[in-house]
């Protein structure tokens, strides 16, 4: 069996885990970053894309609000390439308690969130699709953040500083020697081969799965409550500013414009299994109704895709409400040396994507304490790869690039404007044969046609490039189609059903993918 030795083994390649890898690598530590699947395939990759200003928590959870606005300012500086500076509105709709707005303003003042009341007329001029019945509007520094791009920038930055990246490596055992955790055994999901990682410190950044990893280490009582939320991506940018309802946080009260779509979120339902990704029809219906309250005509717009993610939430002993929204959104750092007398093992869970950097900082501080070495945290000021020039991502960036190179390169995916050379480079950079990995990396197949045209093209290019077998190519194509279907069938109505039917004609009719040998 292969064996590797490192300073820090990070289990879990979401925003937090990748953030830990980046932070630790910047402090000069040797890092192995692992995930059972692709990086940001779990909770991180399944959120709505909102970089919080903190406004959402200004009344309900002031500490979370303070953390959010602090991290918002830092991430705008160090991760600009992954952030679109959309700004955000909190608006009082006819469905909201009008008294909340004054409490909101006070909450923002108390927590240091820049918040400016603007004329309803101004808000409607900037966002003409917004419900014209709104009575008040506030501007806050919300933004949208491409989490896949962020996580890969973190992982790439760590790799450039010597970190080893192990995607599709599931943790099958945590090695323990007496009161010490000495590393873990990982299994390569693709080859079935196992590798022992001997680590000076092991970090579990596994979010809703943290209880399982702690169990493997023989540590009791790490219980994370998975809170499932669904989100729907609507075609086009129905709004260009993040829109929040000015009320106590509830279901379906945020619309986030991100990349080429607008995402509405979210719900919050307690589930027992963090891998439970089922989507209930009544939740979809409710979400569409919620969208209608913010943007009249929302239900007639085209829904592209629905997905669910599980938040890792610690149960608050004081909350006897069954709703997980009343459980703290704050993160929890468990230094198991202090908590359980088991050294060289740290769990970080809870929290939210916006505060991933802070969580990573605190985690690596704890790692350094255990190691007795490592420098100060640099992630507040060190820009991520790609963000060095401090320029925010702009929604028309790919179009601009395409216009510059109009004659030279083919578009593989028209919806997301992905040129062939970019795709070929991505296969190489990501060292993957999996089209779904490429989807997360480049947004391949994420536009209105949901892969109808680009996926055959990408499969053909992949097959030609790598000399992969036809069998493997067929497999990844079929897997992609099946994966896409999971995210579209609950929202198939109107034009998107029509699109899905065209895609079926192409794949099942013209290409006969079902009966390829």
């Amino acid at each position: 069996m292969a064996a590797i030795t490192t300073d820090v083994l990070v289990i879990g390649g979401g925003a937090t885990g990748a953030g830990v890898a980046w932070d630790a690598a910047l402090r000069g530590l040797d890092v192995v970053l692992s995930d059972r699947k692709d990086f940001s395939e779990g909770t991180s990759g399944r959120f709505h894309g909102l970089l919080h200003s903190g406004g959402r928590y200004a009344v309900k959870d002031p500490q979370a609000a303070v953390e959010c606005i602090g991290e918002n300012v830092i991430l705008r500086r160090v991760a600009a390439d992954n952030i679109e500076d959309t700004g955000g509105f909190f608006v009082t709709t006819p469905f909201d308690d009008p008294a909340y707005a004054d409490r909101f303003v006070q909450g923002c003042r108390d927590t240091g969130i820049p918040c400016e009341e603007i004329d309803v007329a101004v808000a409607l001029r900037e966002e003409p699709r917004l419900n014209p019945e709104i009575s008040r509007a506030f501007r806050v520094p919300d933004a949208s953040m491409d989490i896949w791009k962020t996580v890969w920038a973190l992982a790439r930055g760590a790799r450039d500083r010597g970190a080893r990246l192990l995607t599709y490596h599931e943790t099958v055992a945590i090695h323990r020697s007496g009161d010490e955790v000495t590393g873990a055994r990982l299994r390569d999901a693709r080859s079935g081969e196992e590798v022992d990682v001997e680590a000076a410190v092991t970090v579990s950044a596994t979010g809703a799965w943290a209880g399982r990893i702690a169990d493997m280490a023989g540590i009791e009582g790490v219980r994370v409550l998975p809170g499932k939320g669904i989100m729907i991506a609507m075609n086009h940018r129905l709004v260009n500013t993040v829109i929040n309802r000015c009320q106590m946080p509830t279901d379906g009260d945020i619309i986030v414009p991100i990349r080429t779509v607008s995402v509405i979120g979210t719900t919050d339902v307690h589930v027992d299994d963090p891998d439970d990704r089922t989507i209930a029809q009544d939740q979809v219906d409710a979400m569409l109704e919620d969208g209608e309250r913010l943007v009249p005509g929302f239900k007639r717009a085209r829904a592209l895709r629905v997905w669910s993610g599980v938040r890792p939430l610690f149960e608050d002993a004081k909350a006897d409400d069954v709703s997980t929204r009343d459980v703290t959104r704050a993160h929890a750092l468990l230094d198991h040396a202090e908590r359980d007398g088991v050294s060289r093992f740290v769990t970080i869970t809870g929290g939210k994507v916006t505060t991933f950097r802070l969580m990573a900082e605190e985690t690596v501080d704890a790692v350094c304490r255990q190691l007795g070495r490592g420098g100060p945290c640099l992630t507040r000021t060190q820009a991520l790869p790609g963000s060095e020039d401090g320029r925010f991502y702009h929604v028309s960036e790919r179009l601009e690039r395409k216009e510059r190179h109009l004659q030279e390169d083919q578009l593989v995916c028209e919806c997301e404007l992905i040129p062939r050379a970019r795709l070929e480079k991505a296969f190489e950079q990501r060292d993957t044969h999996n089209l779904d990995d490429i989807r997360r990396y480049l947004r391949l197949g994420m536009g209105p046609c949901q892969g109808g045209f680009c996926i055959y093209r990408a499969t053909g290019i992949l097959h030609q490039l790598d000399g992969m077998t036809a069998e493997e190519a067929n497999h990844t194509l079929r897997e992609f189609l099946e994966e896409r279907w999971h995210g579209v069938w609950p929202i198939l109505y109107g034009d998107q059903l029509r699109q899905a039917r065209l895609d079926e004609w192409i794949f099942q009719g013209v290409l006969d993918v079902e009966h390829v040998q």
Partner: protein, 417 residues
């Protein structure tokens, strides 16, 4: 405007109904929102390729049992053979010299798809017949760098796995368009030019080995595909065939050209860009339809109407966000939809989707439920999953053909009375 019959939809079903009605002496106008699915389809005539996921060797021998198991299928209401015969004859007297459809209901031909799957069709154009995978002759699949919609190496690798020796080659086409990409229709227009074909032959010849058939994406011209085929086969001294790929489809557009010519030569009229958005009724009779065109609406009166607007893919049948399905042109009743509260879709992509068989409710004469004078044809009909069964053209031709016959018979009966 007054007609004997207004046909709504200009796909295979609508054009077939329109042409047959015109041939029968009716004053016919075909109205359509846009082009039909011909422009997206491979251009073969698929009658029944799969039965419960199993490949069908002979549609003629399977069909009787198939309809007894699927009594709501359009094939239970019509016969296929006369429509296919009529279509083959249309092609023969049509605008593409020498271009023919070959094959029969007795035996499906297996042709490679762009993915290299072996796809069963009853009738295939002469430009594709050389790809018969029942023929053991080795194949060289040639793709073009400029055509991102066709990948020769993947196609060939899968063909090879089905037992016919095959390899893929990619060449540069030198279109001199200044663009890095061109779709198969754009390339097909180049292949209409003998000078281009000559240059292409010179370019591709060194890649070919003795004894190999040459498979190309379906780009052998739009105007004169048979001329292009014969010319290239002579130059390259080997059989050559087309492989259908992602839309737009040159062979599909030829089908449209052929059926349109049949309609027009029989005196029928075709109006594209006229979306039927409503109807006037007198009890159970539709008396006129209102078509939305650029600028203003037109009213078309007729004694008979044929609804051939397609299914969900064309937008003819729409499922709203309230999860209620509607037929958009005439507001006819639907059948084959899952019951209220029942699952519309299965989470497994390759499973049979409950909503797949939805269509306009008809009686055994294809008359729309609640009407006396509206016949329904093609993908608008319930009970079939044409993209999975490999039955699209067979259903559209046979039901378009049958709808026309029913109208003509009833007109005749009315005149006699």
């Amino acid at each position: 405007m007054r007609y004997d019959v207004v046909v709504i939809g200009a796909g295979v079903a609508g054009l077939t109904a329109g042409a047959r009605l015109a041939e029968g002496g009716a004053r016919v106008c075909v109205l359509a929102k846009g082009m039909g699915s011909t422009h997206l389809a491979p251009g073969t005539v698929d009658v029944l390729g799969y039965d419960g996921g199993e490949r069908v060797e002979s549609p003629a021998s399977v069909l009787p049992d198939f309809v007894s198991r699927h009594p709501d299928h359009p094939y239970a209401l019509v016969s296929v053979a006369p429509a296919l015969e009529w279509f083959a004859a249309c092609v023969e007297r049509g605008p593409k010299p020498g271009y023919r459809y070959v094959g029969s209901l007795e035996h499906n031909v297996l042709l490679p798809t762009a993915l290299g799957a072996a796809r069963p069709s009853a009738l295939v154009p002469t430009t594709m017949a050389g790809g018969d995978l029942g023929d053991p002759a080795p194949i060289c699949v040639v793709g073009f760098r400029v055509l991102r919609d066709f990948h020769a190496s993947l196609c060939a690798a899968n063909v090879a796995r089905s037992g016919v020796e095959a390899r893929g080659v990619e060449i540069d086409l030198n279109l001199h368009t200044g663009r890095a990409e061109e779709n198969s229709l754009g390339i097909a227009r180049h292949f209409d030019d003998p000078g281009f074909r000559s240059a292409f032959s010179t370019r591709v010849a060194p890649s070919l080995r003795p004894g190999e058939r040459l498979g190309l994406p379906a780009v052998l011209g739009v105007r004169d595909p048979q001329g292009a085929l014969t010319d290239l086969e002579q130059r390259l001294e080997r059989p050559l065939f087309e492989i259908p790929t992602l839309p737009p489809s040159a062979p599909g557009i030829r089908v449209y050209d052929i059926l349109r010519a049949a309609l027009r030569s029989a005196g029928g009229r075709l109006v594209i860009g006229a979306e039927v958005v409503g109807a006037s009724r007198d009890g159970t009779r539709v008396t006129s339809v209102r078509a939305h065109t650029s600028g203003h609406d037109h009213v078309y009166e007729a004694r008979w109407f044929v609804l051939a607007t397609g299914g969900v893919a064309s937008g003819a049948i729409e499922l709203g966000s309230d999860w209620v399905a509607r037929e958009n042109a005439l507001g006819l009743s639907l059948s084959g939809a899952p019951a209220d509260g029942a699952a519309r879709f299965d989470p497994d992509y390759f499973a049979e989707q409950p909503l797949n068989r939805i269509g306009v409710a008809v009686d055994s004469s294809l008359t729309g439920e609640g009407t006396d004078n509206v016949l329904v044809a093609g993908a608008a009909l319930p009970g079939a999953i044409p993209w999975r069964e490999g039955s699209g053209e067979g259903i559209s031709l046979s039901t378009g053909f049958a709808a026309a016959r029913t109208v003509l018979e009833r007109e005749g009966a009315a005149a006699a009375a």
